[in-house]
Symmetry: D3
Subunit: 327 residues, 6 copies
């Protein structure tokens, strides 16, 4: 394991400038060695792949951009907890993706995420296009059994095919439910809008009891009520949190492949991710569809993607603190 802060710590500094030093998530220590995951609470994994997109590609640059936009540890000014002080977080590197070979790429992602899961840590996977949720959840479900899913997105991603292709960033949720890795009764979609999919997909969803909060629901109910209902729906078992940044309005997350106007505010999404992570038993997280176009913190989409992860980690840290308090 290599600690990027080492040279700065030698100067008596607790931190390093974001733009300097080894590029890891939040400046966390880096390892590629599964043996070093022992005792780790959270391991960040990159899945830089976009072979299965149906519109603008480029999310293969997402993991690197999110790491470059990620800010150093520190106390969450509202939640009053420093997730990195409470949790042991490492950057476990990228899965061994292969350009133009999505099948083997997904195998590699699943294998790498499985190493995290097997070590007892929570995987945080940085995408990459949304198709990666299939190997991510598969790895989690292999250990925890069928998981609940909280899914922030413009689109349901429950198509059986997109442009005639079954293996696509528009079909992972269909495949995960179909294959029994996600429990549809504990599957909640938040932020749906736009013009896809159609009645066939929604009918399929209804038949399985999948819960959907459309953007007009979010506006009408308010994010707090949506989160309450989501918590009630997913209940106590293991939950995977999947955030497609296109759930945000394009003004907030322009760097994504299929943006759709009328989306969530970052205040709502960030709070919801923290609160859900505090109240649910998260067994895995992914943040996907970041298509960066700018350098470092200038990339606002990678920036908000980083903060989505931060809020989730903060929620997990709060949950641990509350658990500590109960014991």
């Amino acid at each position: 394991m290599i600690d990027p802060l080492e040279r700065w710590r030698a100067l008596g500094l607790p931190d390093k400038p974001d733009y300097a030093g080894l590029l890891t998530f939040a400046g966390m220590p880096y390892t590629q060695d599964p043996a070093e995951l022992a005792g780790v609470d959270v391991a960040v994994v990159g899945a830089p792949t976009d072979d299965l997109v149906s519109d603008r590609p480029g999310t293969r640059f997402g993991p690197r951009a999110i790491r470059a936009a990620s800010c150093p540890p520190g106390p969450h000014l509202e939640a009053k907890v420093d997730a990195f002080a409470k949790l042991r977080v490492v950057d476990f590197g990228d899965a061994a993706v292969l350009p133009a070979d999505p099948v083997r790429t997904h195998e590699q992602i699943e294998s790498t995420v499985s190493q995290v899961v097997e070590a007892g840590a929570i995987p945080v996977v940085l995408g990459g296009d949304h198709s990666i949720t299939e190997p991510n959840v598969r790895a989690a479900a292999a250990r925890h059994g069928p998981v609940g899913l909280v899914h922030f997105d413009t689109h349901t991603d429950t198509g059986t095919e997109v442009f005639g292709v079954e293996h696509s960033h528009g079909t992972p949720m269909y495949r995960l439910v179909r294959d029994g890795h996600v429990d549809p009764a504990r599957y909640v979609q938040i932020g749906l809008r736009g013009y896809w999919p159609g009645e066939a997909e929604f009918s399929w969803q209804r038949d399985r009891g999948i819960t959907s909060f459309f953007m007009h629901d979010v506006r009408d109910l308010g994010i707090r009520e949506v989160v309450e209902r989501t918590v009630a729906t997913v209940g106590d078992g293991p939950v995977f949190l999947s955030v497609d940044v296109d759930v945000l309005d394009p003004s907030i997350a322009p760097g994504t492949g299929t943006p759709e106007p009328g989306g969530m505010t970052s205040a709502d999404l960030l709070w919801a991710c923290r609160e859900l992570s505090r109240r649910c038993e998260l067994v895995g997280i992914d943040v996907v569809e970041v298509l960066p176009t700018a350098v470092g913190s200038a990339d606002v989409t990678a920036l908000v993607a980083d903060r989505v992860v931060r809020e989730a980690l903060t929620g997990i840290a709060l949950r641990r603190r509350e658990a500590d308090g109960r014991t």
Copy 2:
């Protein structure tokens, strides 16, 4: 008429990728032949001109960018109607604009829009700068008589001149009211803010009974109340809907020539356009002042302009469905 989907339909697919095939609005069939407008409900016309702007030019690239950002048909996830299934929509191409000759350009725009109007279809004109509303409305009023006008904008565009020029993107509404094409009692402005125009113009507006909702009104009353009052004001007759994308906050529509902070959210604008189109008798639509700087769906301003049109078409489709229900 040429259908861009043809080659994909031969593969059994109902749609094509946005980035492929002939560039038309939403992949709709293309014709330049007025004879083919028979039976058409809505015809999209491009007006790629920006000779009359007073600040940053470039909206001549707007129509092409909106077409590139336009997404394929599908059911509106909130309104549960697919406008393109309910309505027959075609792309009627661009008017024969001439660079550096705004007079003849406007003649050509009016002539092209008139062909749509004469065919009994609703024209949707993609700008171009806001001066095009003059020929657009003139064409509509030639058939329908003086029209009501619902006008989303930062600026009133009722100047008598801008920098000493009478033919400008800051004067079309003055000219249309002056010339009797717009009924001022049925003219509603929504979203005004900033520092232009001055008391003289507002006094002129008040004298004619023009209704203005400033941005602070939108925030204080809420968009639902503003829409209610607008519907009440424009009443039952023919109405033209003109949307200057600078009514949106610059965070949402940065690609425009005279952005002004403190504007509308896309959620409000999109809902309002749908609702107004459902409840008013629309005889024409334009969406103007899109100044694109990016390719395809990466251009967030063209994207939201496309969705403005979509919501209006959705509203028209709902209105038709409701009318069907009544018969």
Copy 3:
């Protein structure tokens, strides 16, 4: 003094296009001569420096960008006052900054702002990084005594050091309070969020009675209540207004060095600046951390920074009008 409008006035026009003529704030007359400040109400000063930033640099281009984005005078459409008609405003040029020499640069900024203050005008300083608030406030306090401070920002900027450096854009507020130029009992922070600073700094703040409104407070209380409490806290004495544009959400102000998702809306910030300027006795203003990347009005961050200044000037004009009314 040179008036950029001169050649247009000779044509009978009250204004000039934003992109033409001498580049001054809002097209105001330009002078570098302190003697010409007599009778001036407000003098704009540029402080193009960014030597003390800890992340992305480039705010040295801020003053020029804000001037390029600034729009001509005109009546505020909500407040119904034209600040430039009510107040005599000049552009006093840039301080004599020296690249890579922040100490002498700050001396020059303080000296230039002092000339404004000594002339009895209100300085409006365009940054530059936030470290410039130190010379700005020092110049104001030299005349007015310890000032109240209304400080919009993501960060408190009350660190004792940043990466081991005491002279930084993260420390000016600490230094100003420490040195007695800001009265901590009359110091209000609005918009705090993110992960910096830590408990040590907040403890120091609490000990001195500094008031902080975090972003969650702004959302929970509403901006009107926050402004009420701020007015109550700063009371009647001289107040400095310091606006770091990173208080805004990155969707609104992407052009800044350390953006943080979840920030203020422009509607809230602009209204608050106007209202505070109307109700408090402002003795100086700065707007900082604008890192422009686009030309003219295409730079949305410089644009909103300009409007921050406009709203403040509008508030000052309203205050003068109210004072006139009382006499």
Copy 4:
């Protein structure tokens, strides 16, 4: 067939502004109907696909960008011939690409190009990534037998696999030679440089008699000598011309996925394409790896790609004129 110039011709104008009217290559008539290819000399086909790239994706936007950058007909100022007056050119639209399905996409490209070839016209295929040369040449060879190949590129694209993938933008030339569609004795590569491929691939090439001009050869010999030797090598039979824009220096063609410094000048490449097209019997052309990032003529890479096609068409027109002269 639809002629985009129609509305402008009605005004007595021979042309239309580049940014207006139906988006076709050089404003040429558009058809999707193979029956309308009768009598056509050259048909432009788009192949908007990039599923097989190994680095930066985005060339799926290439065909549209090249069309947007293409300028209207006119006499070549050096060659004194207007290719569009001499040749009948149409835009035959895009092949029915399917995102994330490169196998069926290639089938569609081959099928569409075959329609052109069968009609006796020369196909000009706009990519897309370089893998499309496989279906392009296959279609040509199906009619003409094994073809000669003039191949401008940084890379040989004769890998057997790239990152373990056989179907890649780095392998088409290997596959075409292997499968007998390209005659290696009549295959010339021009512009090679950088660090790929290795000795194994070059050894394979030498064994088959493939001719390579590296960039240092181009600089040492001069482009005229390189072209002479190329003409001598490919001889009299049918020749396919394949131009990867990354053969140009990245200063000239920055919009490409795998740029390599030290490349050709546009003067050399443009002249060579014209001269080779004049002297060889071209049976097909492709221009690939344009990854656009800007709008219209602002995209310099799409611009130079358009001019590559223009020069080739000019060369073909010269060849026809010379042939006319001989008869």
Copy 5:
């Protein structure tokens, strides 16, 4: 007159950072007062207008961008002369352009340039689109009689109309020759290429004895021979130098409205401008068609436009020094 260096000179510094202080060309003193032109050798005038372009607009931002890109005085490292030490140069501000009113705009440009000419100074006009050469040369010819013209450009700009418009950026040279302001026998065009204009225009040019060096001539003859022949052609009388930056290759000057691949290198253009200015009797200069997209020195097109002016000024300074040496 205001000297932007004043505050820095007070610190003992001969210069100021490019990004700070009043924005003038090369930091030169600024005046709008014709009376202050007495004794001035060169006066820079901005002509920020682009109403007459036929493709991409935006050159109205050119003058400001060139000033922002202009570097401080200093000795030319090859020519060993500091033009600003040898010549008295001022920035005379922008002409009073009016958006959307090219007729009055041109009157204002001519009037402003005339003031410079009348004062005995050489005007250097920063465009703006190329149509401004008409008022520029008219002003020069009014004093000096018909002038010689050295014209660097992709296009001849000798159309009688463009898209049916006579007043266009494609027609100024036709109009100037037609109206007797340019002596066609002393008119030299350098850098022509591409596909416009056609035989009619070239025939008109030949009839009048206009000399054209196409880009292939420049490559074949070498820039030194082209300059020699140009000097011989324009002879001893007054000469105007007009540089359209699109004469450069788009790799060097991407920020222009109608770029054309295969253009001049900056080394050739810069040397030629210096040499021609040294050997000819320049009575005016313009640099046009700069369409900036970036801030400050990041805009490479504005940068090279500034250096075009610098080389011309250097040449004038050398000419003066040589003249001094002869006396």
Copy 6:
């Protein structure tokens, strides 16, 4: 030491996609531990700092961008050697830079480079602004004694001060010669042009016997002659190679702080770096003033900077091979 290729090697692949895996130079193994430098031939060090620039900042993002643009190992297609096969290269990480503290930052750079030098490896330092050459050369000279210097640059960087500041990116070469770390008789500057510095600095240089090749010399003599003379001048002793990317034309390296038109071609610079590295005894290399604005290989300046390093490594590898051949 961590090898980024590990997971791909486990798949039997010799390489990884550039955009995936731990971000190191060319995918080389990473270590921060000086003990692991034993046996290493070349160690890459990042120096992400730009506190001492006089114009546009941002080179602090340079090292990360160069790593992101760096391509995997492979045989140089002209030189027929794979530097990474011949040499053992590691990425030694970034020096512990401190924003806004250039003094301590330089100490850290010197210390980190010294560790490389002490280990007997050649340091390749990625800047960062040019001021870093001072600690870089100091570290080399501490071991090797006064070094020869081959310095590619637009500017001499031999000022005694810039804007009154002695510690600047315009002064390192003055300081290194003054302090005896560079032997002026063995110091060669290549590529000088523009307007800085003045006679005083050149006089100082001449007095010390420093050799300068201006850009006009490079054009007149040709790069081969310039390299011959340079080799002759620096002779046999230890030589440091310092490449400021602004020596290239801005068309090739637009991403730099003080670009100057009329610069070197990449073909010339790349060849010269290889040849000089082959023929001289290099003891250190730096590549500076890369100011990235784009992601990954889209940043053409970082790309060419990477290739500068590659050519130098290739030259070193050739030198080793030749030395091997002699033994």
